[in-house]
């Protein structure tokens, strides 16, 4: 049996606060019959008496978690699934039931088959949706995918033409006419179903306004767009990871369920950095993790409308024993099953300056559009040398800090002139420290 969850963790699954409240209201055994649970793979079930004559039949597969319920709600999970999990979390379910009743058994059997199938056949074939769609639907889906591919291809060819035209006539003209042109071509990319490209284009005005050296930076962005166009032309020939990166940057959708269906990587994941930003009225939270055993780096992204509060399910400075499901070809991941509550940071292996740069080069090889990469840098001291802040190893090798960091006084204060372990992001324009490790304690910067 999976360790019992905290009530908070169940409530965090609720799609909105109203649903959470409704779930709480139903979470008394009096509303339920045929309650039961199965140890492995962990699952819960029960019948809930609603307003109608027949009770709703609710089943939860905790490994996903995945839910099914006979109620008409389109909220997911519905209040019944939430209530069922809340009953479990508060220890109100009866002791183990030997066999699930019929209504739960069928669905669970389907789930189990799927799970073992995914594990055997691997990621390549597990992209089919988790929730049942018949063969007829699969055909329609394939058709939609082909259509989208065509649209994107046509759009990117147009973009290529546009990019070359700009280079032909010169970027000097761009200072004046650029903004209107960028918006027009970006809108075209949205129509062509390449939102990733549209996003890249919409960031160009910021480059245009970045002052001295902006034409060089503009050329960089144009070159990366051109690279994306060329890579997309040869998508079928590319190695799988690179192809996945291209698809991500173009903006092909990858559904959460697809990613969650990929085999998990279980580890004690240390939460080393957290950065919130607001762009286009959307708050983005980037949390990055490092596996204590695998040494793998992962980035968990979450989005919310600006102004709303993120939950604190991955508190920096803790470590979580959990499953991560990685998006194909990158470090982005989703959190799957959590096997324990957040605990103390484990001992982590850090890298030196040379290794950090080598890792970055490797990441660029896998995904040339990589901008920044999380790094856990061991034994460096922040030092300002000839007007530029660097992180310095005892042997004298240094890595510069990004100019946007400013004066890293908090880091200097924690270091006290001694080498420390720093977690941060390395990008071509320098290192951005996010936190510093003091013994087993993480200090956010």
């Amino acid at each position: 049996m999976a360790a019992q969850w905290e009530v908070e963790r169940v409530l965090a699954l609720a799609p909105d606060p109203a649903q959470a409240a409704a779930g709480r209201a139903l979470a008394t055994p009096a509303n339920w019959s045929d309650l039961g649970l199965r140890a492995s793979p962990a699952a819960l079930w029960g019948r809930c008496q609603g307003s109608g004559r027949t009770p709703y039949r609710t089943v939860v597969d905790l490994t996903g978690p995945a839910y099914t319920c006979s109620c008409p709600s389109r909220k997911f999970p519905c209040k019944h699934a939430l209530a069922l999990m809340l009953l479990w979390a508060s220890g109100q379910l009866p002791a183990q039931h030997p066999r699930p009743p019929e209504f739960a058994a069928d669905w669970l059997a389907q789930r189990d088959a799927k799970a073992s199938g995914a594990a055997v056949t691997g990621p390549a074939q597990s992209t089919r949706p988790v929730r049942g769609e018949g063969p007829a639907n699969l055909d329609a889906a394939a058709k939609r995918v082909a259509q989208r591919r065509e649209r994107v291809t046509a759009g990117l060819e147009e973009l290529d033409q546009w990019l070359c035209d700009q280079i032909r006539t010169g970027l000097s003209g761009f200072d004046r006419a650029g903004y209107a042109q960028i918006e027009a071509i970006a809108a075209r990319m949205v129509d062509a179903q390449a939102p990733g490209v549209a996003g890249r284009l919409r960031r160009l005005p910021a480059v245009l306004a970045s002052g001295e050296g902006r034409h060089g930076r503009l050329l960089e962005q144009f070159a990366l767009l051109r690279l994306l166009v060329r890579a997309h032309r040869r998508l079928a020939e590319l190695p799988p990871t690179l192809a996945a990166a291209v698809r991500t940057h173009v903006g092909y959708p990858t559904s959460r369920s697809e990613v969650l269906a990929l085999p998990p990587v279980r580890d004690t994941w240390a939460v080393l950095g957290l950065r919130d930003s607001i762009e286009d009225r959307l708050s983005t939270r980037r949390v990055w993790l490092r596996g204590a055993d695998t040494g793998r780096t992962a980035l968990v992204l979450s989005y919310l409308p600006a102004g709303q509060q993120f939950d604190d399910s991955l508190p920096p400075g803790t470590a979580v024993d959990s499953d991560l499901h990685f998006y194909p070809g990158g470090i982005r991941a989703l959190v799957g099953v959590r096997h324990a509550d957040p605990g103390l940071l484990p001992r982590l292996t850090a890298v030196d300056v040379g290794q950090a740069l080598a890792e970055y080069t490797e990441a660029l090889t896998a995904d040339p559009w990589t901008v920044s990469r999380p790094v856990l840098l061991g034994a460096v001291a922040p030092v300002r040398h000839r007007g530029r802040w660097v992180l310095r190893e005892d042997d004298g090798r240094t890595l510069p800090l990004a100019r946007s960091v400013g004066d890293p006084w908090r880091l200097v204060a924690v270091s006290g002139g001694e080498p420390v372990t720093v977690a941060g992001e390395w990008a071509a324009d320098g290192f951005t420290p996010l936190s510093v490790l003091r013994r087993q304690e993480l200090v956010a910067l």
């Binding site: 990019l163 032909r168 000097s172 050329l219 070159a223 740069l357 040339p368 040398h385 005892d394 006084w409």
Partner: protein, 529 residues
């Protein structure tokens, strides 16, 4: 010896710039032509590109971006100058920080306390921040390093916070402050240790010289006054006025000679400072002169077997009195002939050692109970209060406060501590009416923080008995004082006082707020323990 922390390969800027210029001008106007200017393998790969010139330029740039980003090499600095122990700022002008922070002897504030301080620094209540610092200093807990830059920035902006911040910096904070001139300036002991090299006194800037004199005064008071005496006649007027007050620290008989000289100074401010300092030296010739003046002004007379004190102030004073700093005009007042004589008496009494009155009275209390002829009584009382403050005489301060003194009450209170202070404040509180709330806050201002429990209890009792006659708004300064200075143990009593009031009473809300702030302070205290 060392290279700049290089990001890119050598001369990388040149070839990238060449690509950028080509893109800026446009391939129609200036085709890219050969790409042989690109280095090594990059040039070879770019050389194989085909197509129209614009796309070749873009593809070459794409290769170059990967080459630049992926080919970043670590920078280097020469062997670590910081490894040298005791390196001081200035030794390596192009390097920050210099040296390593000395080990912290005291255990630092823990996580909860650190989180709380971080929150307060994010724009929290400054008074609570002060309380955090004061409590941490009392419990010998240096602030956590990650909060130090925030604390130092705040100390730069808020001069009032500087002593409190200075008390929790710890070794790490003082080390950090030394790295940034604007921080070092607000943390006196973060500045490099003051060098007692006599050259500084002879050749330094006025600020350096003042620092030198202040430091020497602390370690060797006699040497300091000797140094000042040596250069005294060559110092400019403003310097004489600037250096002389530094003798107030560790004032002693050895300073008398220079101060006597200063009584004849050309500058009035120097003369005034000298007289003020001499008045605090009971064994000086100045004190003797004042004592004999007092004797001539106030003398016992025997009338029918009873002795009474007669006050007799002359119409004119001799020039010697003026030399001793006795002035004709009380600052910012209009004087009449009578008020001038009263002012003389007050100054003479204030300059006379209080011990001189022992011949006439057994105790200060007896002196204060004595009746003098009008209009001399207030002048003598004011002189005694002034003398008690100057001579830091606790017995007289206590007696004056007990006798309902009206002069220099706050200064007298500041001389007392412990039970004497509590008794003096409590005695005063009881007599204050609802309109005296401002006066009360002034008295409470000199009380040590947190207030002694008796004072806190009296303040709360006073407030509860005046609630019907007082609006919370006019008592706001007092409520603020209570919030931040009440002993935390007395917090529940405030909460209970609030709960006794009707729900819609404004006072209930006001006292609840006070109780809430006290409970935050309680938590701060617990977190720091």
């Amino acid at each position: 010896v060392s290279e700049a922390p290089g990001l890119r390969r050598t001369a990388d800027a040149d070839w990238w710039d060449e690509l950028a210029v080509a893109a800026l001008l446009g391939t129609d106007r200036r085709p890219l032509g050969e790409v042989s200017f690109l280095p090594g393998e990059l040039g070879a790969a770019a050389g194989r590109l085909t197509g129209d010139p614009a796309s070749v330029l873009l593809d070459a740039a794409a290769l170059a971006v990967g080459y630049r980003r992926g080919g970043t090499m670590p920078g280097t600095t020469s062997p670590d100058p910081n490894a040298e122990p005791g390196a001081e700022p200035g030794a390596y002008p192009d390097l920050t920080p210099v040296g390593r922070a000395p080990a912290e002897e005291l255990p630092r504030a823990g996580r909860a306390a650190a989180a709380r301080l971080g929150e307060l620094l994010q724009g929290g209540d400054l008074e609570l921040l002060l309380y955090w610092c004061a409590t941490a200093a009392r419990l010998h807990r240096p602030a956590p390093p990650e909060c130090l830059p925030g604390l130092l920035d705040l100390a730069v902006k808020q001069p009032l916070l500087r002593p409190a911040v200075g008390a929790v910096l710890g070794e790490r904070g003082r080390w950090l402050a030394r790295q940034v001139p604007s921080w070092a300036k607000v943390v006196p002991d973060a500045q490099p240790r003051i060098d007692l090299d006599p050259q500084i006194w002879r050749l330094g800037t006025p600020t350096q010289r003042a620092g030198w004199l202040r430091a020497l005064r602390r370690s060797d008071p006699a040497a300091a006054v000797a140094a000042l005496a040596e250069t005294w006649t060559q110092e400019s007027g403003p310097h004489r006025a600037g250096f002389l007050p530094l003798l107030a620290d560790h004032l002693g008989p050895a300073d008398e000679a220079l101060l006597e000289t200063a009584l004849d100074d050309r500058r009035q401010d120097v003369r005034r400072i000298a007289a003020d300092l001499l008045a605090a030296l009971p064994s000086s010739a100045y004190a003797d002169r004042m004592r004999s003046r007092t004797k001539s002004f106030v003398h016992p007379e025997r009338v029918r077997l009873r002795t009474r004190l007669v006050v007799d102030v002359p119409d004119r004073l001799d020039p010697a009195a003026a030399r001793d700093g006795i002035t004709d005009v009380r600052p910012s007042t209009r004087m009449t002939a009578d008020s001038r004589r009263q002012w003389w008496l007050e100054q003479v009494v204030a300059g006379t050692p209080l011990g001189a009155w022992e011949q006439l009275f057994e105790t200060p209390q007896q002196a204060l109970a004595t009746h003098f002829d009008e209009p001399w009584q207030p002048a003598i009382q004011a002189g005694w209060a002034w003398a008690a403050v100057r001579q830091q005489n606790q017995d007289w301060a206590q007696a004056l406060l007990g006798a309902r003194a009206r002069h220099r009450v706050e200064e007298l209170l500041a001389l007392l501590d412990g039970e004497a202070l509590a008794a003096a404040v409590s005695g005063r509180i009881a007599r204050l009416g609802p309109t005296d709330v401002q006066l009360l806050t002034r008295y409470l201002d000199v009380c040590p923080v947190p207030w002694p429990p008796e004072v806190a209890a009296d303040v709360l009792a006073w407030l509860r008995s005046r609630i019907r006659e007082l609006h919370p708004r006019s008592a706001q300064p007092l409520l603020n004082q209570m919030s931040y200075r009440f002993p935390i143990e007395a917090g529940p009593a405030v909460g209970a006082a609030a709960d006794d009031l009707p729900l819609d009473d404004l006072w209930r809300i006001a006292l609840r707020t006070v109780a809430r702030l006290i409970s935050v302070r309680t938590r701060i205290h617990e977190e720091l323990q």
